[in-house]
């Protein structure tokens, strides 16, 4: 058996269940691995091996007493540093929250704890999830395990790098415009963004509330289903939580394969797509064709408007959401303030990094008097058109297949001075958030420079079971997420 820290969660659950390994053994393996590679990766902002081992021993005791909490009992899962865990720090990758301690659990964290998962560490991210490279963290730059001179993607780059490097078995991230799927693709792991409203946002530090969703980052599609099962479902504490029936996702994976009808949106294979990425994605499409699926070319005519629409709506929501960081009730408070208004200006000026300031300013501008109709309201109307494009497509096909990112991981520093080129990294992912759809990034091979490539399966609203089943058809026979970088 290869090293425990590189096994899938589902396989580890089987080994734990059979008593072939203990949770303590598994946790120790992950801790040792983290100690040996973390200085090259910088995925974690904080972790506590002693506390994790205590939790692992409790898990072993439960299992010995016949009181196992299920298949996640004893599995280490890392959290992006914007999900509240009572008594633990939460920075959102920002100086403004450097000393913040969460007074309560996020619903998704509570649900993982109830199932015995070990919450393992706090993972690096772009400040307030604004970025596509994790370079906007105020604390450290995370490196891509496949090439440590490259970015891991973002904003959940700490989460995806940790899973890829064997520093955790799985992780949770958040996705507002691609922040789970793009870094998953760039690090060669599986990243799932659920339908808007499927997973509670209670205890998730808000970036753009109408777009944010929490989702799993794993090595296999099977693991993605396992963790989604634990965190999905209605929560009265999130007023946008949807009362959807939650099916058995793992059972869906075991159902006999169907001849799916899959759409290829031609706008996603147009200019700007790196030829090596195109080749890898087309190979995955060929696989589906050979499995008897029908492949249909379709059109999503408003695709080119998604980027401007997203970069109007998300900063507008952010400028409103981040108004709470004012130096009054919590967060960094400036010592230079002369009066209470000055306190806001200086605390925010000192506490926020450049990208966050840039987006708050942009958001305040598009919402300001005289520009609201031209930008914000118009963008909301085009959002309707973008969503309608998808709904029309789903009259003809079960799901869509696209690339995740137009390029593989780029070099650290390469796009830092050009925000617009950084924003283009999310061109294939952000429409999905605007339309509220589920989508999953599945590893589908490597470039000639041995950098991972992902393929995106976009599902219909609240049809995660179908989407996972389609994704698993490919993943269960390829398992690129189980290949490991040399570290």
């Amino acid at each position: 058996m290869s090293d425990l820290y590189y096994q899938s969660a589902a396989e580890l659950a089987r080994l734990l269940e059979k008593g072939e390994i203990s949770a303590r053994q598994l946790m120790q393996s992950v801790i040792d691995r983290t100690h040996s590679v973390e200085e090259k990766i910088h995925a974690f902002l904080r972790f506590d091996p002693d506390e994790a081992l205590v939790e692992a021993e409790k898990s072993d005791q439960r299992r010995a007493a016949g009181k196992s909490l299920g298949s996640l009992d004893g599995i280490p899962i890392g959290l992006k540093d914007l999900i509240c865990v009572s008594g633990q720090g939460l920075t959102c990758g920002s100086r403004i929250l450097e000393n913040y301690v969460s007074p309560y659990d996020a619903t998704c964290a509570a649900r993982l704890k109830e199932r015995g998962a070990i919450l393992w560490g706090r993972l690096n991210m772009d400040e307030f999830a604004m970025g596509s490279s994790t370079e906007n963290s105020a604390f450290q730059t995370t490196c891509n395990p496949w090439n440590t001179e490259c970015i891991p993607g973002g904003s959940s780059g700490g989460s995806t790098a940790a899973v890829a490097a064997g520093e955790t078995i799985a992780a949770l991230g958040s996705d507002t415009g691609g922040s789970i799927r793009q870094p998953a693709s760039l690090c060669g792991v599986v990243g799932l963004k659920p339908s808007y409203g499927l997973v509670s946002r209670y205890g998730l530090a808000a970036f753009a509330s109408s777009l944010d969703q929490i989702g799993p980052i794993t090595r296999t599609v099977e693991d993605s289903a396992l963790i989604l099962q634990a965190i999905a479902g209605h929560d009265a504490r999130d007023s946008t939580s949807f009362k959807a029936h939650i099916p058995d996702y793992q059972a869906a994976l075991k159902a006999p394969p169907r001849r799916w009808k899959l759409g290829l949106p031609r706008e996603y294979f147009a200019e700007g797509l790196d030829p090596e990425i195109r080749q890898a994605v087309e190979k995955a499409v060929d696989f589906y064709k050979n499995e008897g699926c029908e492949i249909v070319e379709i059109s999503l005519p408003h695709t080119e408007l998604a980027l401007p629409v997203y970069y109007i709506l998300a900063p507008a929501e952010a400028s409103s959401n981040l108004a709470r960081y004012d130096g009054v009730r919590y967060t960094h408070r400036s010592e230079r303030a002369e009066d209470h208004v000055d306190l806001y200006f200086k605390s925010r000026g000192e506490g926020f990094g450049q990208e966050v300031k840039r987006r708050i300013i942009l958001g305040a501008y598009v919402l300001s008097s005289g520009y609201y109709d031209a930008y914000y309201l118009r963008a909301q109307k085009i959002r309707t058109l973008i969503r309608n494009d998808f709904m029309d497509a789903f009259k003809k096909v079960d799901a869509l297949i696209t690339p995740v990112s137009p390029t593989a991981a780029f070099k650290i520093g390469e796009r830092l001075d050009d925000p617009l080129s950084m924003y283009l990294s999310d061109i294939y992912t952000l429409s999905i958030n605007l339309a509220g759809l589920p989508a999953i990034s599945v590893p589908c091979g490597f470039t000639s420079k041995k950098l991972p490539v992902g393929v995106q399966i976009i599902g219909q609203p609240f049809k995660e079971a179908e989407m996972l089943s389609i994704a698993n058809l490919y993943d269960s026979t390829h398992r690129f997420g189980m290949e490991h970088p040399e570290l």
Partner: protein
């Protein structure tokens, strides 16, 4: 660069209550001009009669029974307060001297 997309960075920073350094002010002005130029393409779209989307799945008026539930204790609620006194948060003086 068109006249209508010029951005008064000081005015917007004041709206957002953010202090900017001179360097940031200069850098953001040119970057935001580029971004706003990119936004121009949305103006050509015919949106007549199209309803705006605020949330992908409209959920309106979520009501809950008004039942008391345990909340945070004062100590927990003040856990992160930069400065506190007598279970209250201290802020700089808001009222002007007479």
């Amino acid at each position: 660069m068109s006249e209508e997309t010029s951005i008064d960075i000081d005015y917007v920073a004041t709206l957002a209550r953010i202090e900017l350094t001179d360097e940031e002010r200069e850098q953001f002005s040119s970057q935001l001009e580029d971004i706003l130029d990119y936004f121009e393409r949305i103006k050509a779209v015919d949106v007549a009669g199209i309803e705006p989307t605020a949330h992908a799945f409209p959920i309106y008026n979520v009501w809950e029974e008004d039942v008391p539930e345990p909340g945070l204790s004062p100590d927990e609620a003040l856990l992160n307060a930069p400065e506190q006194r007598g279970n209250q948060i201290v802020v700089p003086k808001v009222v002007e001297d007479a």
